[in-house]
Point group: C2
Chain length 143, copies 2
């Protein structure tokens, strides 16, 4: 079980965006260069982040992206949910309701996934982008 590059790259990119945001928007290519991520792949991620309302875009030359909210109002969970989909599916069998436990909404392993889900959510929803940005500023960028 691990987080995909979407989540990893996206989170780094959002931190980068926070760190390098002045008054002007930040371009994807500058983030990509600093973070050593492919331009076109990052584009895709920002498409999702924009659609989810976490960033704003300014088109055209000298355009780029900005955080849509203050970084203390964006949690790591917000970001990861957009990029990773559900952080932990809670269904028992697979993605959909299974024949073997259709009637009862109870099921042993579902209980387990529920607990794991709660653990993850508690962690990521209490971590704010602002914290990461501050830390990152102190520590000279990096991965």
């Amino acid at each position: 079980m691990k987080i995909s590059t979407k989540g990893r790259y996206g989170l780094r990119a959002m931190v980068d965006l926070g760190v390098y945001s002045k008054n002007e928007p930040v371009s994807i290519s500058s983030i990509a260069e600093r973070q050593q991520i492919s331009d076109s792949y990052l584009e895709q991620l920002f498409g999702k982040l924009k659609k989810a309302g976490l960033v704003l875009s300014i088109r055209g030359a000298q355009g780029g992206y900005q955080l849509a909210r203050k970084p203390e109002e964006i949690s790591v969970g917000d970001i990861l949910r957009v990029l990773e989909g559900d952080l932990m599916s809670v269904t028992c069998g697979g993605d959909e309701e299974e024949h073997s436990c259709q009637a009862s909404d109870y099921c042993v392993t579902k209980y387990v996934w529920q607990k794991v889900h709660e653990g993850i959510i508690a962690a990521v929803d209490h971590l704010l982008l602002s914290e990461l940005i501050e830390q990152s500023k102190g520590f000279h960028g990096g991965c």
Copy 2:
């Protein structure tokens, strides 16, 4: 982010094994039938569980598997770690140490994965197989 069939099937199988353990060993084929999982796939999973010391095997006719420890001494985390590998890799870049953060053992996103990891571990290590077995007995098997 989700748990693969290895983890899901394996957990169900371990609960099943606990529920149906009397004095005799329980065969893979019987578990597979009750849980609607392919025999040969389950075999693989039990291979891992055995190697990890969570189950014992008895070979030959009328052979099968038994829990290696009392179910209250086996946590869900024990099982999932065996079947899923690390529950959450904590490295920042990918699987290995990356050039971009080799020197400092600090890195912003690594901090995030660490927190997520702690959340997951806290959840699964406090859930005991015995609890699931008891619940499952009450609720007529199922997924």
